[in-house]
Subunit: 195 residues, 2 copies
């Protein structure tokens, strides 16, 4: 099985939600760029204004923040077919709070704020696509808050490994711990228990 063309990955995903004529697809593709990232390459650094939205064709990126004690807090991962950006910065064109960085070799589609304005003007239906995407992302993040509040760290880890067994292999454990909201030491302890 071959890796899909980045352009096809994007169009296929959009067409799961809205109809898009060939002309519209061409217009859209004329307004995006394709980019290949190595591990640890940055898409956004905290403090910079975020001018782009990113669609992950293949690979994995993380959104994170530096906190007080010199450590990092991972807010989110994005894998194949997810959009990721710092919407706060993207929307208001103010300095970003978050970093966005590849955690493995990753292919992305880059959709700039200015391109978005042009494309939405020409293809208003595309707003619908993003509305639906955001609706899902939003409700997923509310469910995540629910789980954070009502499950122990251990239960969250078990659930995560059950839902994304392959993904757990792809990122270092300390990143997983940060994403799940506890320390790497505690994750080690959880794993030790069931070996």
């Amino acid at each position: 099985m071959t890796t899909p063309e980045p352009a096809d990955a994007l169009l296929n995903h959009i067409r799961k939600f809205i109809a898009l004529s060939d002309d519209e697809a061409t217009f859209l593709l004329d307004h995006v760029q394709f980019k290949t990232l190595r591990n640890k390459d940055f898409l956004l650094k905290a403090g910079d204004v975020c001018h782009e939205n990113f669609f992950i064709v293949q690979g994995c990126v993380r959104m994170y923040m530096h906190i007080d004690n010199g450590t990092e807090q991972i807010i989110q991962f994005a894998i194949d077919n997810w959009w990721m950006t710092d919407y706060m910065s993207f929307d208001h064109q103010k300095p970003a709070q978050f970093n966005i960085q590849a955690v493995e070799p990753t292919q992305v589609v880059v959709f700039s704020r200015s391109a978005q304005d042009v494309v939405f003007e020409k293809i208003p239906r595309l707003e619908r696509y993003f509305r639906i995407i955001l609706q899902r992302a939003y409700s997923a993040s509310l469910m995540r808050i629910h789980f954070i509040y009502n499950q122990t760290g251990e239960a969250r880890y078990q659930q995560f490994t059950r839902l994304f067994p392959d993904f757990v292999q792809r990122v270092p454990q300390y990143m997983l711990a940060s994403y799940l909201g506890f320390t790497p030491e505690f994750l080690s302890k959880i794993r030790a228990k069931k070996g």
Copy 2:
């Protein structure tokens, strides 16, 4: 100062984000209902399919879930000028996980799923409005996850009272505790410290 007409409250809010002609406004208003809730009235009960999105004109509602031990987990509050629904249920037309209930006398605009389909068809620009709203709700909920992970319960309470001093008065403390992710007993302790 008089309470704004519900219809005006909705139109004013929409017009902060997109242009809306008088004809479009009329068309939209023909497809929504207005509803007045008493304290504890339900907009949605877990298990039912959610067919509506709600705009809070004035008042306050909470979204919550029953959990294992007979207690309740509050996921979200919505006050004036916020939309609230169970997007998971609304989107897929599956049974809702959440309850949505008034916590004080509240006026809402009811925008049904079927009306939404009709209205989006006629006024595609409105998708833009919801896209922007959702973008903000989503990024706010990511920030919330960040704070849950990186601040103590006490710090979250202090921050919340600083940001929404009037709101703290409006809801019972046990609801605030649940929203902030700790027990009512712990909230009592925090408050005792600084009296």
